[in-house]
């Protein structure tokens, strides 16, 4: 399954024949992806399709059984998570895993854990406040007491503090008030457009994901079943039936 439409673009992240197994169960089975630099690419699919596992294997949180992951030409398949973050590839995990007992400010500071230039950290933080003014208002508040949408903003903000070149978002719309979902997706587009950060977005909300992305992959039980430009997929009858509600 060669994706000719992507072959022509320089890709920043490539997965070749990636398989991940939890014991005898194959969560991800021989998938290959290419993410062009500067794009928003989405990975959609139902529960248990292997979306989160794919992201976790890219960021080093789970070890693939087979396959190679290359980021900007570097083989990152066997690197530890913190080494991968240091390369500029940041992962916003599913379920907005903020540090619930720490304040918003401390959460953001931890995002800049690997940053050494205080002036740059300050600048990044100010930029995040323009994206999510709510975070500035809640700076001293304990992250666990924020609303779902605010926690998601914080999780994204924390990832941005690491000044990534590549951002992976795992279900940013999960369990969030619809109004905030719109805001968050608008910000994702801004982050991509204004800062040139490549984004790999995992979503169950296929409508939204196809709207803001340029390319899409559909995962079904660990395999890629459909892929192509998002505009084409929006019209694809198979996808319409399965994910877009007819």
């Amino acid at each position: 399954m060669v994706k000719t439409h992507l072959r022509l673009l320089p890709s920043v992240l490539t997965l070749s024949h990636l398989s991940v197994a939890y014991g005898p169960i194959h969560a991800v089975n021989d998938i290959s992806l290419e993410i062009p630099r500067g794009a928003i690419v989405t990975l959609i699919g139902g529960n248990g399709a292997g979306k989160t596992t794919t992201l976790q294997s890219i960021s080093g949180l789970v070890r693939p059984a087979a396959g190679v992951i290359r980021f900007d030409g570097t083989d990152i398949t066997r690197l530890a998570p913190h080494q991968i973050v240091a390369l500029g590839l940041c992962h916003v995990p599913e379920g907005r895993l903020v540090f619930a007992n720490l304040s918003v400010a401390e959460n953001l500071a931890l995002g800049a854990y690997l940053q050494r230039d205080p002036a740059l950290v300050e600048q990044t933080r100010d930029h995040i406040f323009t994206l999510f003014p709510r975070l500035k208002e809640r700076l001293k508040q304990t992250a666990g007491t924020l609303s779902g949408g605010e926690q998601q903003m914080l999780a994204i903000g924390r990832a941005l503090m690491g000044r990534p070149r590549f951002l992976m978002l795992d279900e940013p719309s999960l369990g969030i008030a619809p109004r905030l979902v719109t805001t968050i997706f608008e910000r994702i587009v801004e982050i991509n457009r204004d800062q040139g950060i490549t984004i790999l977005l995992v979503e169950q909300n296929a409508h939204l994901a196809l709207e803001i992305s340029s390319h899409a992959y559909v995962l079904e039980t660990g395999r890629i079943s459909i892929s192509g430009p998002s505009a084409d997929l929006r019209a694809d009858p198979r996808l319409k039936a399965a994910y877009l509600g007819g």
Binding site: S59, L61, V85, A86, V98, L102
Partner: protein, 313 residues
């Protein structure tokens, strides 16, 4: 700009250490004894809090590290401090003995920290408990260290100044560490390992550092304990000693340094007030723990609202 919390902590501890030292001369032997026990308990509780509270790694092996410190520093002073040494030389060598014991304890902590990379919660608690028991049994079966009888005849080198000096150093170091950029990594590992990894933090390293540092400080406390009690035996470092320290941390509120200090003071003084029913001390501890878990799961002295780390032990 408010005064950083860790500086307040240091000043408060130093003031307390100074006050205790100044009044130390006017205290009777019994009060002096209790004061030193309080100090040693604070050092133990604050160091365990780094592992159990801040980093969220449930360890039941603190008495093992204390034992290493106690035995090695005692062996050091018994063998290497000549009777003819002046008071100054004795205390200088005592300092070296404390560091030796603490370094050995740190090595033990490092070794115990390694399994903590793979184990969580109750499994980790069991492993650390087992490790501490191994340490105790090794001492019990080493004739050179007195075997089951233990070591005795140490010089009473633990003074009130030494004790509260170390209290100040411990509290200051831990508070500074936790409030630093590096130290927030401990809290991040406790709150969520996946999110910590995703932020570029290496949880493995933090767990090992917490165990090693916690054990080092427990080793110091062990040395102070040995040169205060003047006789140590393996039974003094059994499971119940570990549990005592864990109770202080839980009672104070895991991750809350001030609360843990207060709990250490309370739990050291309590048995003194309960002398007539001393045999029921462990029963009381148990009752206290049960009551605490029912009434204040976030820790007795934890005044901060919000979700604390107590939900997951």
């Amino acid at each position: 700009m408010p005064v950083p919390r860790q500086h307040v902590a240091l000043l408060a501890t130093l003031a307390l250490a100074g006050a205790v030292t100044a009044f130390g001369g006017s205290l009777n032997a019994y009060h002096l004894d209790v004061a030193m026990n309080v100090g040693i308990a604070i050092i133990l509780a604050v160091s365990l809090n780094l592992v159990n509270g801040h980093t969220g790694q449930f360890s039941l092996g603190h008495a093992g590290f204390m034992a290493v410190g106690a035995y090695l520093s005692s062996a050091f002073t018994l063998r290497l401090v000549p009777a003819s040494a002046s008071a100054f030389e004795q205390h200088l060598l005592f300092f070296a003995a404390l560091l030796t014991g603490a370094l050995a304890a740190a090595v033990a902590g490092f070794l115990i920290g390694l399994p903590s990379l793979r184990l969580k919660g109750d499994y980790l608690a069991l492993i650390t408990l087992g490790f501490a028991e191994i340490i105790r049994v090794v001492f019990q079966n080493t004739p050179a260290l007195g075997g089951a009888i233990g070591l005795n005849g140490m010089a009473p080198l633990t003074t009130i100044a030494w004790t509260f000096g170390w209290v100040a150093v411990t509290v200051f170091t831990v508070s500074c560490l936790i409030n630093s950029t590096y130290g927030r990594g401990f809290l991040a590992v406790r709150d969520d390992e996946i999110a910590a990894s995703a932020s570029g933090i290496n949880p493995t390293r933090y767990k090992v550092v917490a165990f090693t540092l916690g054990a080092f400080v427990a080793g110091i406390a062990g040395g102070l304990f040995a040169h205060h009690q003047l006789a140590i035996d393996p039974r003094g470092f059994d499971f119940f000693r570990s549990v005592e320290i864990v109770v202080m941390v839980i009672l104070g509120g895991r991750g809350n340094t001030l609360g843990v200090i207060l709990a250490a003071v309370l739990l050291t003084l309590l048995p003194e007030f309960l002398r007539p029913v001393a045999e029921y001390r462990m029963v009381l501890y148990a009752a206290l723990l049960i009551g605490l878990m029912l009434l204040r799961p976030q820790g007795v002295f934890n005044l901060r609202l919000g979700r604390s780390a107590t939900g997951k032990i």
